[in-house]
């Protein structure tokens, strides 16, 4: 899947956002036959730094370390257009077309507060705080999906991720 993006003077850094840690992320990295580095953001720290609240995201950075493209939400590397955009940047340094407008959301510390509760063993408390956060910011998919993954591990960690189930949750207003 990544072979068509390879380039001599370019590289890929993959960031797994999963507060349940590397053991949840590793099977996906290994399954993709990845030849690049994957790091794990267990604290969701980069959401604050980059200002995102949805995943998957992509950022393209030039040789000097400057951001030339960023997309928050919907940057799916399985999509051929996304791969073509990355390949073109790798070979030319140019980004074709307009960069999508970045999306921000209301600032809140619900994700972090819930995370601290979860880490201290108070799973119910964590879920309550995340539900409050989602009520304030319904488009915060990081928070919503992390809550789902903890409440319903069978939908996420037993083989394939059950996206049909996720769509049903949305349709039911969960």
């Amino acid at each position: 899947m990544y072979a068509d993006m390879k380039s001599k003077n370019a590289d890929i850094l993959s960031i797994a956002v999963d507060l349940q840690g590397p053991e949840k992320s590793r099977p996906y990295h290994d399954g993709a036959g990845a030849e690049f580095t994957t790091v794990v953001d267990e604290e969701n720290a980069l959401a604050r730094i980059f200002g995102y609240r949805a995943i998957p995201n992509g950022i393209l950075i030039d040789e000097q370390g400057n951001i030339q493209f960023q997309q928050y939400g919907g940057f799916d590397i399985k999509n051929s257009e996304t791969r073509a955009l990355v390949s073109a940047f790798f070979s030319s340094g140019e980004v074709a077309g307009e960069s999508p407008v970045a999306v921000g959301g209301p600032a809140s510390d619900h994700f972090e507060r819930g995370l601290n509760l979860y880490r201290s063993g108070d799973t119910d408390g964590a879920l309550t705080v995340w539900r409050e956060g989602i009520a304030l910011d319904p488009e915060n998919w990081n928070m919503r999906k992390q809550l789902w993954a903890i409440e319903n591990p069978d939908k996420f960690y037993s083989g394939k991720v059950d996206y049909k189930w996720q769509r049903e949750q949305v349709e039911q207003g969960q």
Binding site: Y28, H29, Y52, I59, L60, A107, N142, A149
Partner: protein
Amino acid sequence: MVANIPYGSPVPDFELRSLSGEMVKPSDYRGKRLAIFFWASW
């Protein structure tokens, strides 16, 4: 509102641990074009 970083500005030099245990930061890739993908198992 949470603000995004303006285009053309330097990528923040965060540091995270890789699946193989090393600390990695964007500046390790200086001199190369770099694509950073953010994803989750969920």
